[in-house]
């Protein structure tokens, strides 16, 4: 013990202040290496919805010029040129006549798992449901909220069942030029040429309107120009949760709900879903 003390004293006498500083830096560098740089990176999948679903002044959908720039396969690199995020899937829902779009983006991320707080973090920011997320891909940026986190791509689809749906929607009191244009339509495809729905049948009948006459009785009348339209359409892929099914990840398919048609050159409003049938 005494020998140990003596040798320690000798060593301390030999060490200079610079050695002490270098020792401190060495300890810090070792901790950096083992605790920080040796952390396991996991590949996880997240869904990001842009903008934030809360209707605040900042949450208007993203402009079309920005949404069209972000594409499937876009990659975010870090400063060392490593791939840290990749866009796997992009879904868009038009708003304001297609000038702006809501975006659902699925990303594959290189995330770090923090064992202490039991959360994933990406590029220094914690990933939790509802957290703000910023993707800076090589082509465009995306700001939104994290709405799903999955460990594997299979997990992403496990909660949702994919079904085919046969939808019947009534569009009331349509002007004749809308009817004429609608009769030319057979299907709708998104910008990746994936089929969104195909029209099975369109029935046009003169628009029936109801109003009180001079005696106060409600009477039906036939409008001379306008038409009521009933459209049957087949949707190849709807996502069903335990409560409801959704078209284009977003629109609930429930009887009584709206289903406005948004073609590039035609918008048909005044809609009500009157029937939904599903095929697995």
């Amino acid at each position: 013990m005494r020998k140990l003390k003596l040798s320690l004293k000798k060593l301390l006498k030999k060490l200079s202040l610079l050695d002490y500083l270098l020792a401190i830096l060495f300890v810090a560098a070792i901790s950096f290496y083992f605790i920080f740089f040796k952390r396991n990176d996991n590949i996880i999948y997240i869904d990001v919805f842009s903008p934030s679903p809360e209707w605040t002044e900042d949450s208007y959908p993203v402009s079309r010029w920005q949404t069209s720039a972000l594409k499937k396969g876009d990659i975010q690199y870090n400063s060392f040129g490593q791939k840290i995020a990749e866009v796997i899937d992009v879904y868009k829902t038009p708003w304001n006549g297609g000038k702006q779009e809501y975006m659902f983006v699925t990303l594959r991320l290189k995330a770090t798992y923090n064992k202490n707080v039991k959360t994933y973090s990406f590029n220094g920011n914690p990933l939790s449901f509802g957290n703000d997320f910023l993707l800076e891909a090589n082509n465009a940026v995306l700001e939104g909220k994290v709405i799903n986190i999955y460990k594997t791509i299979e997990e992403k689809n496990a909660g949702l069942k994919h079904k085919k749906a046969l939808l019947t929607v009534r569009y009331k009191s349509q002007e004749p030029w809308i009817v004429k244009k609608l009769l030319q339509k057979t299907e709708l495809r998104d910008d990746t040429q994936q089929l969104m729905f195909s029209i099975v049948d369109i029935q046009v009948s003169p628009a029936k309107e109801f109003y009180p006459n001079w005696q106060g009785q409600i009477v039906a009348s036939i409008h001379p120009e306008k038409s009521d339209i009933v459209v049957k359409m087949e949707i190849p892929d709807v996502e069903c949760s335990e409560y409801n099914c959704f078209y284009n990840h977003y629109f609930p398919l429930a009887i009584g709900w709206d289903f406005p048609l948004e073609f590039g050159d035609l918008t048909v409003t005044g809609s009500t879903i009157i029937d939904v049938q599903y095929n697995d």
């Binding site: 301390l12 060490l15 200079s16 202040l17 610079l18 002490y20 500083l21 270098l22 401190i24 830096l25 300890v27 810090a28 901790s31 950096f32 605790i35 920080f36 870090n78 400063s79 060392f80 923090n114 202490n116 707080v117 973090s121 590029n123 220094g124 920011n125 914690p126």
Partner: protein, 485 residues
């Protein structure tokens, strides 16, 4: 008949001889040239080349690589030359760290590493010994690593731990190098030159009522920082984006010069001292930084009172100091504005009042109760957002405007005690040292002591602990004070 032309050229000749006769003057002249290059370019590649040329020229003059690297290190710290990153760069472990924090690290890092390597290689220069203080620093480092490991914002914590280690390295470097008087001299001269230049720019900005368009100015804040707090009042920050920050730094310089004046030091020519004091006082007043005003007044009166008490100066001698008259006049003329600003400071309404500092202390204490080891270096501003309601941090997530609060939040109670112990040991060693003689060196030492005290006061009002430039100077002074005491 007097030949004015001849006198003029004779003066120029004597100045030329003065500059090129001593190494120190040559180094200062080269430093001035280096400063000029900052006005000409802010392209990173050019700056890297300029720094390399600066190293070569300095080495050619003084033939001492340690000294050369130290001077270049100081120059890069003072002029925030860390921009080898583009504007929105995040380091692999910086996370949400603001861009301005990433600025000011990289050239400094390279020079620092070079200096450490060279010091290790040339063993002859080092004369130092281990002490109890080193144990405390070791404890601080270990506690900081632990707090970063357990931090809920680990990326940010690691990045700032890296900054803290740099500050600690500077503390050690100044202890290792300052046994030679020249290092202390050149360090203080560089700092004063920077402050003089910054006060000139601040005054010019105030006269212009906006940025001047120089490359050294920070363009982050076009209409003046804190415009939302006091609309209509342009607060010039000189080369920094923050008027409070510039004023705090000037306050340290002011206090140092006052000490030199009170102690009759010949460290700097008295005419220069008076001129610089006028300049600094003007810049501090127009910065509208209330905390700096308070600390400047408080520490200056303390120095004057200690001077009286120790009979360094008689009351009548103070009246002879011509500097007091312009400063007093300036303060009286802008009196209404000063009173108005103080009135805001003391009120409980709004942000950036005394109330804010007390709230930050409370938040730091509450964080330390939840995280015994702290939330990691400089993570106070992020953790308060996750732990408290916005109204509890006054809807403004900033670094703690009180060093104690920041230390408690970041390093926990143990870490805070270790930091306090470190500062206490250094200050105590100076206070009880017996070599406080009347020599010129004693005045400089007292000046450095006053600067350290001023920083510690200022840090209770402004978030200075992790503001790299001013903190680097503080840690250098702290190391110098410890070894020189």
């Amino acid at each position: 008949m007097i030949d004015y032309d001849h006198m003029f050229f004779a003066k120029i000749e004597s100045l030329y001889r003065h500059i090129f006769n001593s190494t120190l003057s040559k180094e200062i002249a080269i430093f001035a040239l280096f400063i000029l290059t900052n006005f000409l370019t802010n392209r990173l590649l050019f700056q890297a080349i300029i720094i390399l040329i600066y190293i070569l020229v300095l080495y050619f003059i003084n033939r001492n690589l340690t000294r050369t690297l130290w001077e270049v290190l100081l120059a890069t710290i003072l002029f925030s030359l860390g921009r080898y990153f583009p504007f929105k760069f995040t380091t692999p472990f910086s996370g949400e760290v603001e861009a301005y924090k990433v600025f000011g690290v990289s050239f400094t890092d390279a020079v620092l590493l070079g200096l450490l390597y060279w010091l290790k290689k040339s063993k002859g220069h080092i004369k130092a010994r281990l002490s109890f203080l080193d144990l405390i620093v070791g404890i601080i480092v270990i506690l900081s690593i632990a707090s970063s490991y357990y931090s809920p914002h680990s990326e940010i914590a690691w990045f700032n731990l890296f900054q803290l280690l740099k500050l600690i390295s500077l503390f050690y470097l100044s202890r290792i190098l300052f046994w030679k008087t020249d290092y202390a001299k050149i360090t203080i001269y560089f700092m004063l030159i920077y402050l003089t230049l910054n006060s000139f720019i601040m005054i010019a900005q105030k006269l212009h009522n906006g940025l001047l368009g120089l490359l050294v100015e920070n363009y982050l804040i076009k209409y003046g920082n804190y415009a939302q707090d006091s609309p209509g009042l342009f607060r010039p920050g000189g080369m920094s984006w923050d008027a409070n920050y510039s004023a705090a730094f000037l306050c340290m310089g002011f206090v140092f010069l006052v000490t030199l004046l009170v102690y009759d030091s010949k460290f700097i020519n008295k005419k220069f001292i008076s001129a610089m004091l006028c300049l600094f006082a003007t810049a501090i007043v127009i910065s509208a930084s209330r905390g700096s005003w308070l600390v400047t007044m408080f520490v200056t009166s303390l120095i004057i009172m200690v001077g009286l008490f120790k009979k360094k100066k008689r009351p009548s001698e103070y009246l002879k100091l011509k500097i007091i008259i312009p400063v007093l006049l300036f303060v009286l003329v802008s009196g209404g504005f000063i009173v108005d600003r103080f009135y805001q400071f003391a009120s409980e309404m709004g942000q950036s009042t005394i109330n804010t500092r007390l709230i930050h202390l409370k938040l730091g204490f509450l964080l330390s109760l939840n995280y015994p080891l702290g939330t990691g270096p400089d993570t106070f501003q992020y953790q308060i957002m996750s732990m408290f309601e916005p109204k509890e941090y006054l809807f403004d997530s900033t670094p703690a405007h009180m060093m104690l609060g920041e230390l408690l939040g970041d390093f926990g109670v143990l870490g805070t005690l270790a930091f306090i112990a470190l500062f206490y040991i250094v200050l105590k060693k100076f206070w009880f040292s017996k070599n406080q003689t009347l020599s010129s060196n004693a005045a400089v030492r007292t000046g450095v002591f006053c600067m350290v005290i001023t920083y510690l006061f200022l840090a209770q009002i402004y978030p200075l602990l992790f503001s790299f430039q001013i903190s680097a100077i503080f840690w250098i002074l702290l190391g110098a004070l410890y070894e020189k005491a």
